[in-house]
């Protein structure tokens, strides 16, 4: 029996997801034209998948043939912008010579160029090459055996992902294992239609990222059988098998995917807290989500959602961030050296890219955890229009009464609650056309897409303590909220791209504390227009405007505050007469930016300029920020890169109100940032990045400022001044391992930062000493020294492993050098009689450190897939070995002895999520 050799292949599904930093050394030769906004909010979309034009059959390995061995070789194919195969890597070795044979054949394949956002771009696809052995051909039938006419039956249906109801596109459906049998390819809706001979059909469905699906259907002659097949996904939740590369305009851009944002241990699934695991970010005390980036202070890193600033990042008392992890597509984090289109920050930038609604069918999820519950829904509305929505609300206010102490003679009521929402409606995709090409042809070669998004947050806290046995009757009532509505219109034609992003917003704050009341409201109108034009393959420009106007009003009733209205005597605070004020102030901040990209051989030069103008009250400020980024593509896998430039951040509007509560003389906060690094792609899934940085901050806003004598008499302490300065230098290392395919079980990253950051004031400490840079007092006359957040070594290891059967295990280990402290040096008591407080006697400023911080967090996920939905359960345990880390030190009342304040002990959190 001589076996009939046959090798068949099937193009696997090509679900395109976004690029990862591991693959982000954009091959500049094939990069798309100048993108107007290569940021997280401008997600690249595959507008035309690659098609296999030329297929080459692989030689069946002789030994395998002799042994009768078959195999399926799963490959990651990198397809260049011209359709040529540039790289082929097996994801799981099959052995027996199959890998080599498949690679040799696939290298000769030819594809039609894929298009991302309408332009040819390099992409990666997963491809399965099947080596099968055919049964011997039956003897040729005699004339009497030949059927007069072929009989037909039709099998039609839809392929649906089990557990999520996603439609499975690009899968092959066939009857039996006969390589010559007809087969059907599922379309974008997962639909297929297969014409075969009547009778029993041993259905085989092969789809990338899914287990082989087999069943039997009895097909009647001249009849159509309608079916739905539910395919079981392979591996864990990560199904990113095809990646597009986004051109990288920044020296360092670190990207967090939605899966990483939701499943990084120890972060409670909070996307912003995941950023703390990246290089360049110091560890914030406790479980606070503060972003302390490359020596900058909290508040100096801008966080944006699809290009619009998020006014308040965290819910009540440092709780979860207002960014719902279900709604994000990914996060881009720029620790420094970012492009000219970004501004209003002297630290880093966090860009939250939101999720476009599903185009296939209704999907959603419901999640419940310790603090809150929320849902996410996404669905197509009509042709070319999809919607995604998420909302979340806390229920701590309903649980707290059960645990609060109840004493006769006192009542304590604490009512904290928060909620947030996100809504996005996308439109413009194809609009009635069957293909992108048809849509583009109808529009004369142009393409328009857009979306409208709204997001907002609301936090309320009411605390009432009263009764004869309490220290005092206390009432605190706070309410903060914000709403933003933004549009996004992307237009591209040829080498020209335009992205227009208008937005409006409302912020409200209300605060009541005893007889003190403050009601504030703020209206915001802003717009960003970014134009990109590729003038030649080696030269492109990008320019645009970034404008925002704010009007804030405050209605204030306060007992006359000491040191603002009168010189306080140390000790008991008297009750001041009630002051009633109405304050209104408008501010405008606009920027014009321009950036060019010039390719010269292996070099890419990107000079840019951002011109900022601010008008707030009577203040008029101008700042010019020139920036330069240079990349050298040493090899296809290695890139050297460097940047330097100036950055500006305006003071918030309320700081410009008149004296004594504001300072209308404030100017831009400034920073010089520079970096130099190398990025090397070890393999398709392993990436290493080493970057050194040096930053200087100057004219930063600190509180309070110096005393100011008024011309007609009187003295004020200016509440804010531009005296803040700082300096940081360091080295960041990032090694990241991604999952190559759905069957790859391990992913994670190692992040290490070595740094030194200084902070303080350019002049002497003000009267009353005041804040030191962005934080606390120095304890002596030192006005410049180590930042209170300085951490010499910051090491983070994050890893996740898919155990199978719905189980996934993850861990995060952190080590950081302890923060600086000023040691107590008690030799005698210093009693301030009027204040009834003791002063401390200290050693040199920041001459000691707290002990190092180390902690292991572990997370276990278990999911159960049902026909139409998936149930997930997770246990996230912070500090699993209960390390007693020191977060702060404080002194006893006589300032004789230091006490260490421990951090969070072991803290398990359980959550449930159902998705469909």
């Amino acid at each position: 029996m001589s076996p009939n050799l046959n090798a068949r292949c099937a193009l696997a599904a090509a679900s395109l997801l976004l690029g990862s930093p591991a693959l982000a050394q954009a091959p500049q030769d094939g990069a798309p034209p100048a993108e107007a906004a290569p940021s997280a909010q401008a997600q690249p979309v595959i507008t035309k998948p690659p098609e296999l034009l030329q297929q080459v059959e692989a030689a069946y390995p002789p030994e395998a043939l002799a042994e009768g061995v078959t195999a399926s070789v799963r490959l990651i194919i990198t397809i260049g912008a011209d359709g040529a195969v540039t790289d082929v890597l097996p994801t799981e070795p099959a052995g027996h010579g199959f890998d080599e044979a498949a690679i040799a054949a696939v290298r000769q394949f030819r594809f039609s160029p894929a298009e991302v956002d309408g332009v040819p771009a390099p992409v990666q696809v997963e491809y399965v090459y099947h080596f099968t052995l055919n049964a011997p051909q039956p003897e040729a039938p005699g004339p009497e055996q030949q059927a007069p006419a072929a009989r037909k039956a039709t099998l039609k249906g839809q392929l649906i992902s089990r557990g999520s109801r996603s439609r499975v596109a690009g899968a092959t459906v066939r009857c039996g294992d006969d390589p010559e049998a007809p087969e059907a390819l599922s379309d974008e809706e997962g639909r297929f239609s297969l014409e075969v001979s009547p009778g029993e059909c041993a259905v085989r469905v092969v789809a990338s990222g899914y287990q082989l699906y087999q069943t039997k259907e009895l097909l009647q002659e001249d009849e159509t059988t309608e079916v739905n097949f539910y395919l079981a996904p392979k591996g864990g939740a990560l199904e990113t098998v095809v990646r597009s590369e986004r051109p990288k305009k920044e020296v360092v851009r670190r990207t967090i995917t939605r899966q990483e944002a939701q499943r990084t241990p120890g972060t409670f699934g909070d996307p912003i807290r995941v950023i703390q695991t990246l290089p360049g970010v110091a560890r914030a005390p406790f479980i606070s989500g503060q972003l302390i980036v490359r020596g900058s202070n909290p508040g100096q890193t801008a966080t944006m959602m699809d290009g619009v600033g998020i006014p308040l990042l965290f819910h009540l008392l440092g709780g979860p961030s207002v960014v719902n992890a279900e709604f994000i597509d990914q996060l881009d984090f720029f620790p420094g050296g970012y492009a000219s289109q970004y501004g209003r920050a002297v630290g880093g930038i966090v860009e939250v890219g939101t999720r476009k609604g599903a185009a296939d069918t209704l999907h959603g999820s419901v999640k419940v955890d310790l603090l809150d519950a929320g849902f996410f829904l996404e669905a197509p509305v009509t042709d070319g229009v999809s919607v995604a929505a998420a909302a979340r609300r806390s229920y701590i206010d309903t649980l707290l009464p059960a645990v609060l102490p109840k004493n006769e003679g006192s009542t304590l009521s604490v009512v904290p609650k928060y909620w947030d929402y996100q809504l996005r409606v996308d439109f413009g995709a194809k609009r009635g056309a069957n293909t992108e090409e048809e849509a583009r042809a109808r529009a004369g070669g142009a393409r328009s897409t857009g979306y409208v998004m709204a997001f907002g947050s609301d936090d309320q806290l009411r605390l009432v303590s009263s009764g004869p046995e309490t220290e005092r009757d206390l009432t605190v009532d706070t309410h903060t909220l914000f709403h933003r509505i933004k549009g996004d219109w992307t237009y591209s034609k040829g080498n020209f791209t335009s992205v227009f992003t208008p937005y409006v917003g409302y912020d409200g704050t209300s605060f009541k504390f005893g007889s003190a009341k403050q009601d504030g409201s703020s209206y915001t109108v802003g717009a960003r227009e970014v134009l990109g034009l590729e003038l030649s393959p080696t030269f492109s420009v990008r320019t645009g405007l970034d404008l925002v106007f704010e009007h804030q009003t405050f209605d204030v009733e306060f007992p006359a505050p000491e040191n603002f209205e009168y010189v306080a005597f140390p000790g008991a605070e008297s009750v001041g007469e009630l002051l009633v004020e109405h304050i209104g102030l408008g501010s405008f901040d606009g920027a014009l930016f321009v950036e060019a990209e010039l390719k010269a051989g292996k070099f890419v030069f990107t000079p840019g300029l951002r011109a900022n103008y601010q008008r707030a009250g009577d203040a008029r400020n101008v700042a010019l920020d020139p920036r330069l980024w240079v990349a050298f593509n040493a090899t296809e896998r290695t890139q050297l890169k460097g940047s330097l430039g100036l950055y500006s951040q305006p003071g918030e509007t309320f700081r410009f109100i008149p004296l004594p509560y504001g300072n209308p003389e404030l100017s831009y906060q400034r920073a010089f940032q520079s970096s130099l690094g190398v990025e090397h792609r070890l393999t398709d899934v392993f990436n290493v990045d080493v970057t050194g940085f040096f930053n200087r901050r100057f004219s930063n806003i600190v509180a309070p400022g110096q005393l100011l004598s008024l011309p007609g008499g009187g003295v004020f302490q200016v509440p804010y001044s531009n005296d803040g300065i700082g300096r940081a230098l360091g080295l960041e290392v990032m090694v990241k391992k991604q999952r190559a395919s759905a069957t790859d079980k391990w992913s994670g990253w190692l992040s290490y930062t070595f740094s030194q950051s200084l902070d303080g004031r350019a002049g002497p400490l003000p009267e009353g000493r005041g804040g030191f840079g962005g934080f606390g007092p120095t304890g002596d006359d030192t006005a410049y020294g180590l930042s209170p957040f300085d951490q010499t070594h910051i090491l983070t290891l994050v890893s996740s492993y898919v155990l199978g059967n719905g189980w996934e295990l993850g861990g995060r280990f952190r080590y950081t050098t302890g923060r600086p402290t000023t040691p107590l040096n008690h030799t005698y008591d210093l009693y301030q009689v009027d204040r009834n407080r003791f002063s401390g006697v200290y050693g040199p400023y920041a001459s000691a450190r707290m002990s190092g911080f180390h902690q292991l967090d572990v997370r276990v996920d278990k999911s159960w897939q049902f026909q139409s939905w998936t149930l997930g359960l997770y246990l996230d345990v912070q500090n699993i070995y209960n390390a007693e880390n020191t977060e702060f030190t404080f002194n006893d009342y006589r300032q004789r002895r230091e006490y260490e304040v421990p951090g969070i002990p072991i803290l398990p959190v359980v959550g449930v999520k159902g998705s469909f």
Partner: protein, 307 residues
């Protein structure tokens, strides 16, 4: 606003964590050498005019009585050396700058109330300059809070050393309505709602806690006027604070009263708990009141406590 909230959040976490740490040395428990209170009678001196005339300086040079409450429970009556200086700079907590300090008194005493007359307004430093003028020169607020002269008492006994700084206030009528401060006085104390006489030790037994309250002081809290930073008149009302001390056990609060920035005033109510396992003994209690503008006084009470 974001930066302020961030700092507030950190502060809140810090305070919450501090609440979990319990230092051994409690402020309300006196067990070694301490200065619990200092007062001057009058609490402040006010000239009849703001013109810098010899008459005005004479008014500010009046004699006042300096009082300090010294405790030394473990000292067994040992001698305590004291020195009192007046100096020019509030930041000079020990009056270390010799050129700007004047010795007002020194000697040896024992625990209890230290009393002597002083004339700080007449003190002169190098160059025969009035110390008052030097204080004014050092004052960044140019006297808008009054001339606040630091009086620094240094007491030593054995190897213990305490510096206690009290600000003596000298005023002139910068704005209409300013009057001299009246010394705050606690009208009386109660234990478990029973009046606590000054002369007779109270008999207390059991583990407590015993609720100690002050008689109502609200009608004694003065309304007063100070110059504002814009030279206008700012009207204020005192919110007294009382600090509580005991030679056995501790109070649940070491300080009561006062007002927060929302004008919410505390009530003067504390709970005293004897130390666990202590034997029957005489216990001394102190309550030191401050009016928030320089006035201060104290009361002492005795109790015979048995388990």
């Amino acid at each position: 606003m974001k930066a302020l909230l961030n700092t507030g959040i950190l502060l809140m976490w810090g305070l919450a964590a501090i609440a979990c740490v319990d230092p051994e040395d409690k402020p309300s428990n006196v067990h070694d050498l301490r200065v619990l209170g200092v007062s001057t009678e009058q609490p402040e001196l006010i000239a009849s005019t703001c013109e810098q005339t010899p008459e005005a300086f004479d008014e500010l040079a009046e004699e006042v009585t300096y009082r300090a409450l010294l405790v030394d429970p473990a000292g067994e009556g040992r001698p305590i050396q004291y020195t009192l200086w007046a100096c020019a700079d509030q930041a000079d907590s020990t009056c270390a700058t010799e050129a700007d300090r004047v010795l007002l008194a020194e000697g040896t005493t024992t625990a209890g109330e230290l009393t002597f007359p002083i004339r700080p307004g007449a003190a002169r430093v190098a160059g025969d300059k009035l110390l008052l003028e030097r204080v004014l020169e050092e004052d960044a607020y140019k006297g808008l809070g009054g001339i606040r002269m630091p009086l620094v008492l240094r007491v030593t006994a054995g190897d213990e050393e305490v510096y206690a700084q009290k600000l003596m206030v000298f005023w002139c009528p910068v704005v209409e309505g300013m009057t001299a401060n009246v010394q705050p006085v606690i009208p009386g104390l109660r234990v478990d709602d029973v009046p606590w006489p000054e002369e007779v030790p109270l008999e207390l037994s059991g583990p407590g806690p015993f609720v100690v309250t002050s008689e109502d002081v609200s009608d004694r809290e003065e309304s007063y006027v100070v110059p504002g930073l814009r030279l206008d008149a700012v009207h204020l009302k005192e919110a007294w604070e009382i600090a509580w001390y005991t030679t056995l056990g501790k109070f649940n609060l070491s300080e009561t009263g006062g007002a927060d920035f929302g004008g919410q005033q505390g009530r003067h109510r504390v709970e005293w708990e004897p130390a666990e396992g202590a034997a029957a003994q005489d216990v001394t209690f102190y309550a030191v009141v401050r009016d928030g503008r320089g006035g201060s006084s104290w009361v002492m009470r005795q109790a015979r406590w048995s388990p």
